[in-house]
């Protein structure tokens, strides 16, 4: 049995009232509900306030570069498919600096769970617009207001036929824990975009703002229907849907490598006899 205590309790560097605390709790709960022990999971993150989360979790951790958590996680998963991998980082990290890796991870359908702490702002660098910031948002760096359309990760993921696309809200810990548990259970790439208030820098998308708009999809909702999913994916504004928005069945990326059928690369030793045969071909 795995208990929530196994994942520890740590002092954080987050602001009081930050949505990150609830996400951290949900992650722990999701892991416990999945009966995954700390030494079985690797949590990879980038750089940002969200990316500090793994440091507050008693688990294997790789805290890498801003925007580059997904490639690190992909390499680790290919080296050792037995590792259960969670990638946890911010909206800037995943949709900004790391945008190209986000697209690639969806295309690969690599088996890991991406939890994006989406506060629609660059927190750690003190409040510049992030790719998900609302149009018109005014910051020190965007005094005339954000002019770019906000990036809708859900819409892009569904359009790309990602195999598991969900949205959670830090204000609904149990629901979020459920999504994380299902994401971990999903074979393939699981995107969980989590709406998270940043009390210090995002004065528009506050806890109340989200609370007022977020609703959870009904049990009738058919997440396997792409058209419905696409419609739901672009829902934003007065009503913001939470839950699994789209899912499909597709072999996860690691499965495509025949060598991995023999088990993880790590631990496999080098067959010098085989190499000798290969070298004979050069003669």
């Amino acid at each position: 049995m795995v208990s929530i205590e196994d994942y520890g309790q740590y002092e954080t560097a987050w602001c009081p009232g930050c949505g990150n605390f609830s996400i951290l709790e949900a992650v722990k709960q999701g892991l416990v509900d999945s009966v995954i022990a700390p030494h079985e999971v690797l949590v990879v993150s980038g750089i940002g306030q969200a990316a500090k989360a793994p440091h507050y979790l008693n688990a294997n951790v790789f805290n890498g570069l801003h925007g580059r958590a997904l490639p690190v996680a992909t390499g680790a998963k290919l080296a050792n498919p037995d590792l259960r991998i969670i990638v946890e980082s911010g909206d800037g990290c995943n949709y900004g600096e790391g945008g190209n890796h986000f697209l690639a991870a969806i295309r690969r359908n690599i088996d890991l769970t991406l939890i994006v702490h989406n506060n629609q702002i660059y927190g750690l660098t003190k409040g510049q617009a992030s790719p998900t910031s609302e149009e018109g948002l005014i910051t020190k760096a965007q005094p005339e207001g954000v002019a770019s359309l906000p990036f809708n990760p859900i819409a892009v993921a569904v359009a790309m036929q990602a195999s598991f696309v969900a949205r959670g809200f830090s204000g609904k810990i149990d629901h979020l824990a459920g999504l994380i548990q299902q994401g971990l259970a999903h074979e393939g790439f699981a995107l969980i975009d989590v709406l998270q208030p940043c009390v210090s820098f995002n004065k528009v998308n506050t806890f109340a703002w989200y609370k007022k708009r977020c609703y959870t999809l009904s049990d009738e909702y058919d997440a396997t229907d792409w058209q419905t999913a696409m419609q739901t994916a672009v829902e934003w504004g007065d009503k913001i849907p939470l839950g699994i928005i789209y899912r499909n069945q597709r072999a996860s990326f690691e499965k495509s490598f025949s060598v991995l059928q023999r088990g993880p690369l790590v631990g496999q030793d080098t067959d010098l006899g085989e190499l000798k045969k290969i070298l004979e071909k050069f003669v």
Binding site: V61, G75, A79, N100, L265, T270
Partner: protein
């Protein structure tokens, strides 16, 4: 009469099958027991343009390319015009009767008459083998092995064309000095630099390769891919170079020796990742196959101008090792050593090659795989101290390494400054301890440095210093100079960082004139030597036009041609 040092140059458009012809000839020559060295020159296009495939062949060891051509096989008219001048006395041009210059220095081949256009290269193969006096059975067999498996009908057609060509050529009244036969051919491999790097990495247990295609590094990844199934390897084409280096770091963190092949521009994108490998102390082998820059430069040519780029790549300060093989054999052994050193010191390690060496097939004595010393992946089986501290402070600076998910112990790696347990810290005292711990690893790396190789006369009048792929040309130039009764030495660096002055300063100081020979415009090794020893080389022979340094080039630049 015979000639024991022949250079043949095949020229034509991309797509005319001249590389196939060249490779067939190379294979035949090596089987026949000759020593060869291939120099390929091609353009950044898929069809057309002007490409060449040169083979220098001899019964003696061939260590460098040569500029003058004995046998010019022109697959098109342009080749004749462009290379006529390079043909040496007694040399011969083999050309289509439509293109050839009508002199007795030219054998005019009625290609149209002997074969359909797309198989002209088979005709050329026949002609050349007659001219060089190669064993026709061997020629036929090699040709057959090449196509046989794929396509029998094709093989048959080729055989016929070959026979026709051999017959036709036998009847021509040409006088071209044949190669002296090799009595007892010893078995050798035909291998180029990139193949050797791939094989060396495999021999060292590399099991993960992430890359983004880039000439001239791509073939390293393709060679690994070709063996992935048999050697239990995952090779992944990444979405970009940043992903490639970070994937390799992830795979290595999880416990699998990893390699990342790239070239200058792609490597530039990886430098932040290099810094991450340095900070997280994750072993990774990065192969930088050099080509002329800046920016896209001359993407299919050669240069040695990324030494400084690699030496200072990545922000912040951390130790590294940089190897620069001078031969195909060194590509194998140093790729192997790189993996070893990366694992031992949990650091990024670099292998610098270039287009010339990457594409240069040579006759290589088979590696003694049975007696390879095993490589220690540097992974502890259990935590020395509990709780496990990934970054435990040690005298060597190397901390015992465990793998995530392979034991109950938790492994925490961080690109922020961190505590011994891997979690981030802003404690400035710990910062100093960690900087110093990482730096101490440099001592260990120093102790493993491959000393520069000195050849030639003790305290010579002239010492030629070089690194990487220029080795052979400098050796041959030195030999030539020695014949004019100069006392000459050469010093070749197959590892350019770290430098250990005790290993070479004596040579520099005891030489009359010290000349550094490099394929770049700044003399990057020369200034690095000065930085590390204070010794300023007296003169530099530099080349930066995209072509490999040749013995002739060195002699010309020294005014001794």
């Amino acid at each position: 009469m015979e000639k024991n040092d022949v250079t043949l140059l095949i020229g034509g458009e991309a797509g005319q099958g001249l590389v196939t012809l060249g490779q067939l000839l190379a294979k035949i020559l090596v089987h026949a027991g000759y020593s060869i060295l291939v120099t390929q020159s091609y353009q950044s296009r898929i069809r057309g343009g002007h490409n060449t495939f040169a083979i220098r062949v001899s019964t003696e060891a061939v260590v460098a390319p040569r500029e003058s051509v004995d046998l010019l096989i022109a697959m098109n008219e342009e080749t004749v015009t462009l290379h006529e001048a390079e043909v040496a006395d007694g040399g011969l041009i083999v050309a289509d009767e439509a293109h050839g210059t009508d002199t007795d220095g030219c054998l005019q081949v009625p290609y149209q008459q002997l074969a359909e256009t797309r198989l002209a290269n088979v005709v050329a193969l026949g002609v050349v083998s007659v001219l060089l006096g190669l064993d026709q059975a061997l020629v036929a067999r090699t040709l057959n092995d090449f196509f046989g498996k794929k396509d029998h009908e094709m093989a048959e057609k080729n055989r016929q064309i070959l026979t026709t060509a051999l017959d036709w050529c036998g009847q021509q009244p040409v006088t071209f000095e044949k190669l002296p036969p090799v009595a007892k051919p010893i078995q050798r491999m035909l291998m180029n630099g990139n193949e050797a790097i791939a094989m060396g990495a495999l021999s060292a247990g590399v099991k993960f390769c992430s890359f983004y295609p880039m000439t001239p590094a791509t073939s390293i990844a393709l060679n690994l891919t070709a063996q992935a199934g048999r050697m239990g390897l995952v090779v992944e084409q990444a979405e970009d170079e940043i992903a490639a280096i970070n994937m390799a770091i992830g795979a290595s963190f999880a416990g699998v020796p990893s390699i990342v092949p790239t070239s200058g521009g792609g490597f530039a994108l990886m430098t932040e990742g290099v810094s991450l490998a340095g900070m997280t102390e994750t072993p990774v082998l990065i192969v930088v196959a050099q080509r002329p820059g800046p920016a896209t430069g001359l993407p299919t040519r050669t240069e040695q101008a990324d030494l400084e780029l690699v030496l200072y790549a990545g922000h912040g300060e951390f130790p590294r090792a940089i190897y620069s093989p001078g031969t195909v054999e060194e590509c194998f052994w140093l790729a192997r050593k790189s993996v070893d050193v990366a694992a031992k010191f949990q650091s990024p390690v670099f292998l610098l090659t270039d287009q010339f060496l990457a594409d240069s097939s040579r006759a290589v004595t088979p590696f003694d795989i049975d007696n390879l010393e095993p490589i220690d992946p540097g992974i502890a089986t259990d935590a020395s101290s509990l709780p496990y501290n990934r970054y435990a402070i040690t005298p060597s600076g190397v901390s015992p390494r465990l793998l995530p998910g392979m034991s109950k112990h938790l492994v925490v790696a961080d690109g922020d400054e961190h505590l011994v347990d891997g979690h981030l810290t802003e404690d400035l005292k710990v910062r100093n301890l960690m900087v110093e711990k990482r730096l101490r690893k440099e001592q260990g790396i120093m102790a493993e440095v491959v000393p520069p190789e000195f050849q030639g006369d003790e305290s010579p009048d002239l010492l030629l210093v070089t690194w990487g792929s220029s080795k052979g040309s400098v050796m041959e130039a030195a030999a030539k100079l020695r014949n004019d009764s100069t006392r000459v030495g050469i010093l070749h660096f197959s590892q350019v960082w770290p430098l250990v002055p005790d290993q070479f300063l004596g040579y520099l100081e005891s030489a009359g004139e010290v000349v550094c020979v490099e394929g770049n415009v700044y003399g990057q090794l020369a200034r690095l030597i000065r930085r590390e020893t204070g010794f300023g080389v007296h003169r530099r022979v530099l080349r930066y036009d995209g072509l490999p340094i040749t013995p002739e080039y060195v002699l010309r630049e020294l005014g001794r041609a």
